[in-house]
């Protein structure tokens, strides 16, 4: 170090090429500040935090392969007679230019089929990883304050993913996707009053018209990807702003983040994960054929093949339509037809499912009355009602998806299509209720087990006999980390509301509304298992060298409703 007092000379000029380049950039852009900030940003460590990354990286793969495909795909509905390198069965057939260019890019462009298959597999995996990521966020309560808005952004991203997938799936103009478009047309037309006008607007005339493929192309390569990119930006910005949530554990609070710095640990992990995702998608694209449009043939409104289904993320809609009874559900009112047989399964049911996703965080915030910030995740068992509702939602979704595959279930398991359909009709209503009940009971059971473990410790299998002949099993107390995990959670109680009348007997406005919320709150939190309090823990320890469990007539830790609301804190 020189003795010069000027501050600039205390920093030695960089000597390595990388250092020089970094210094050059920093002097011109001041990027060093951002790098310093981001490199030291701490992320908590858990495999399930990589699920969102998987969706992001599949999207990057979608962009890369999509750019390649755009160079060869021609979204025109003009008719031509095909003669090319495609399969023998396509030669000389009349088809749209869009279909022919799909054949050309699959069979004539070098690597084209590989790119198409990677693109399609990436789309399926993109949606699947979004769903799994949402499940992680939902079941751990990561949507709570301050992340409600990010949950909404994520849900919109999921719907945009559906839009991207559906518009892309329809582009090759084959029989299978054309059937899907025809269903879409029917669904649009089932909307009262505006339905037929909207259909003509979308298709530029009567279905199928000559405009839908170019329009879907614009939607697929410009509109939806741009929106997705913007919202991914917002999603990640909010994630950085809020800092990442962390799983509960000793030393982890709502005021800190325990983990590793972005650089070098997470850069390495994320980079590695990107190449793994890309590698798996490339492997799938190289070895497993997907959407062989030449099997289905160029679109023609008359034929439909057995096993005509949409991609998996749209299967719930297909199933919903397949389950709906067709009789007595089409009403003619003053000469106008109301197609409830399409409107209910294709508009109302998905509408309800999506509404649940959009409003759930706000409902839960309202029934808990909890306005604090949360950065430590919930263990799913500690919020039995939420976990139960999530499983019920998934059950409904999965039953609809299976109903959309009912013909394949019939052929592959040797069953009757009609019986399967009836079974699913009943299961669609009974399944979610049953799933909710079972899940909630399992959660409460696990909570009781936790409680019992905290109070009495681990069984060691060591049996000791006292001089007086008494046998006991020695229990080993939990260590601090184990106990921390099991006692640090909120067991929310049902809302307590102001009385119906004030002190002078005047009716309080808003009481009825409060009562409704209280009812909902009771549904959530009437049954709950309170965490062990320090007093209970001390009592259990003082209560004896031998850790016997007293046989209470009624489980004392399961408090029910408000009758025990005045229980000791």
């Amino acid at each position: 170090m020189s003795t010069d007092t000027s501050p600039s000379s205390t920093v030695e000029p960089p000597t390595t090429p990388a250092g020089k380049a970094a210094d050059y950039l920093d002097q011109r852009t001041g990027v060093g500040v951002a790098v310093k900030e981001f490199a030291r940003k701490v992320f908590p460590d858990h495999w399930s935090f990589m699920l969102g990354e998987m969706a992001l990286f599949s999207f990057v793969v979608l962009l890369l392969t999509g750019v390649f495909l755009t160079m060869f795909f021609d979204p025109s509905m003009a008719l031509i007679e095909y003669h090319g390198a495609g399969p023998e069965s396509m030669q000389g057939q009349l088809m749209s230019v869009a279909f022919a260019s799909t054949l050309d890019l699959s069979f004539e462009v070098r690597g084209g089929l590989l790119m198409r298959q990677i693109h399609h597999w990436a789309a399926l995996v993109f949606m699947a990883s979004i769903v799994v990521h949402m499940m992680r966020v939902f079941f751990t309560g990561a949507f709570r304050k301050p992340r409600e808005i990010n949950w909404l952004v994520g849900t919109v991203l999921m719907i945009l993913g559906l839009a991207a997938g559906f518009s892309g799936y329809s582009l090759p103009d084959d029989v299978l996707s054309g059937n899907g478009l025809r269903i879409t047309d029917g669904v649009v037309k089932s909307i009262p009053v505006i339905g037929s006008y909207t259909s003509y607007f979308l298709f530029g005339g009567e279905f199928p018209g000559e405009h839908i493929i170019p329009r879907l192309f614009t939607v697929h390569i410009l509109l939806v990807p741009a929106l997705i990119l913007v919202l991914i930006g917002v999603h990640l910005f909010l994630m950085v702003l809020h800092k990442h949530t962390q799983y509960p554990g000793g030393g982890r609070t709502d005021k800190n983040v325990v983990g590793y710095p972005l650089f070098p640990v997470y850069i390495a992990k994320m980079g590695g994960n990107f190449f793994i995702v890309f590698g798996i998608l490339a492997l799938m694209g190289a070895t497993m054929s997907i959407n062989n449009v030449w099997n289905y043939g160029p679109y023609d409104p008359s034929p439909v093949g057995a096993g005509a289904q949409p991609d998996w993320y749209m299967l719930f809609l297909e199933g919903s339509l397949r389950l709906m009874p067709g009789y007595a559900t089409e009403w003619v009112i003053f000469g106008y037809t109301l197609s409830l047989n399409v409107l209910i399964p294709a508009v109302v049911i998905p509408g309800l499912l999506f509404t649940f996703l959009f409003v759930y965080p706000f409902i839960e915030a309202r029934v808990t009355g909890d306005k604090r910030e949360h950065h430590v995740l919930d263990r799913p068992r500690n919020v039995p009602a939420r976990t139960g509702l999530g499983v019920a939602f998934l059950t409904a979704f999965i039953i609809l998806a299976l109903a959309g595959s009912n013909d394949l279930i019939a052929t592959h398991f040797g069953m009757s299509l009609n019986q399967i359909t009836w079974a699913f009709r009943i299961l669609f209503f009974a399944g979610p209720v049953f799933a909710y009940w079972v899940t909630k009971r399992i959660c409460l059971g696990l909570q009781r087990k936790d409680r019992e473990l905290v109070l009495h410790g681990h069984e060691t299998g060591r049996i000791v006999r006292f001089a007086n002949g008494e046998y006991i099993e020695v229990h080993r107390p939990l260590d601090d980390q184990e106990r921390w995990l099991r006692v640090n959670y909120d067991a929310h109680r049902p809302l307590e509301i102001e009385p119906a009348t004030d002190a002078r007997g005047v009716k309080r406005p808003g009481y009825q509304k409060d009562k409704q919320w209280q009812k909902l709150s009771r549904f959530f939190f009437e049954d709950r298992v309170e965490p062990v309090t320090p007093a209970e823990l001390a009592a259990a320890h003082a209560h004896g060298e031998h850790d016997e469990i007293e046989a209470a007539p009624r489980s004392p830790e399961l408090v029910s409703g408000t009758e025990n609301a005045d229980r000791e804190q």
Partner: protein, 260 residues
């Protein structure tokens, strides 16, 4: 006799008696039961004669002694040799058990017996004949035309490439990958079970052959790799979850376990 009577309470006596009874029953059956036809390729008259015997032994229970049909099974007068050849050579008839539809099984009759049965049924009334080798030669057809015809006439039940599909009430349209060219032709001609008849006015013999050519072309496999059963988006979605998500979550757990 006395020795026998003395041993009638012997422990092994019931077993010995049972064995004897079985032997007698089996022997009687072997003597009295109609022997399977063993005639060499002979004149049609002999074939018809043998066919009639086979028919009465194997088919008459349901189809009636003179193939006139019964409440359980249709009349076979006028169904033709093609129908018999299809049903018997694929093992569908004689039917293994009642059910939504007759399932395929290893054929019970050898080719010669099948021919005799066909000759007998054909003799009962005029019906479609067994197609010639040239009529079912896939090399002579046009698969592009076949694809077009298959899509409009067959794909709604058999799937776009003949992977099979479900019909109502437990019936099904079988996959066509392993069906012989002759059987495909016969099925179109005679409309077995739930299948409609595609007679020569509906699909002429050349068009039937084009369809066969298209179906045979599908057996070559998929250009893009494993065909995943050619069942469409459901099997693709299943594999996206199993292979794609399975491997990725496995990798994520592995990455997550590193360094922490």
């Amino acid at each position: 006799m006395k020795a026998l009577a003395a041993r009638r309470h012997h422990r092994a006596a019931p077993v010995v008696l049972l064995l004897l009874a079985l032997l007698v029953t089996g022997g009687l059956y072997a003597v009295l039961a109609p022997s399977p036809a063993t005639a060499e390729t002979a004149s049609t008259a002999t074939d018809v004669e043998e066919g009639k015997r086979l028919f009465q032994a194997n088919c008459a229970t349901c189809h009636g002694p003179n193939a006139e049909g019964s409440p359980e099974a249709p009349s076979l007068v006028g169904v033709g040799a093609a129908s018999v050849d299809f049903q018997v050579s694929t093992g569908r008839m004689p039917m293994q058990m009642t059910g939504p539809q007759a399932a395929e099984k290893p054929p019970q009759m050898d080719p010669e017996q099948t021919a005799q049965l066909a000759a007998y049924v054909a003799s009962l009334g005029a019906g479609p004949a067994i197609p010639t080798d040239e009529q079912v030669d896939a090399a002579l057809g046009d698969s592009a035309n076949g694809a077009l015809l298959f899509r409009t006439n067959c794909a709604m039940c058999h799937n776009a490439v003949g992977a099979g599909g479900a019909l109502s009430e437990g019936k099904w349209a079988p996959p066509l990958y392993d069906v012989s060219e002759r059987n495909i032709y016969q099925a179109m001609l005679t409309g077995p079970q739930s299948m409609p008849v595609f007679n020569d006015a509906n699909l002429n013999p050349e068009e039937k052959r084009d369809i066969i050519t298209y179906l045979v072309e599908q057996r070559e496999g998929s250009a893009g790799g494993l065909s995943l059963g050619s069942l469409g988006p459901v099997s693709e979605g299943l594999w996206a979850w199993v292979v794609g998500l399975g491997l990725m979550i496995g990798a994520a757990v592995w990455i997550g376990a590193k360094s922490s």
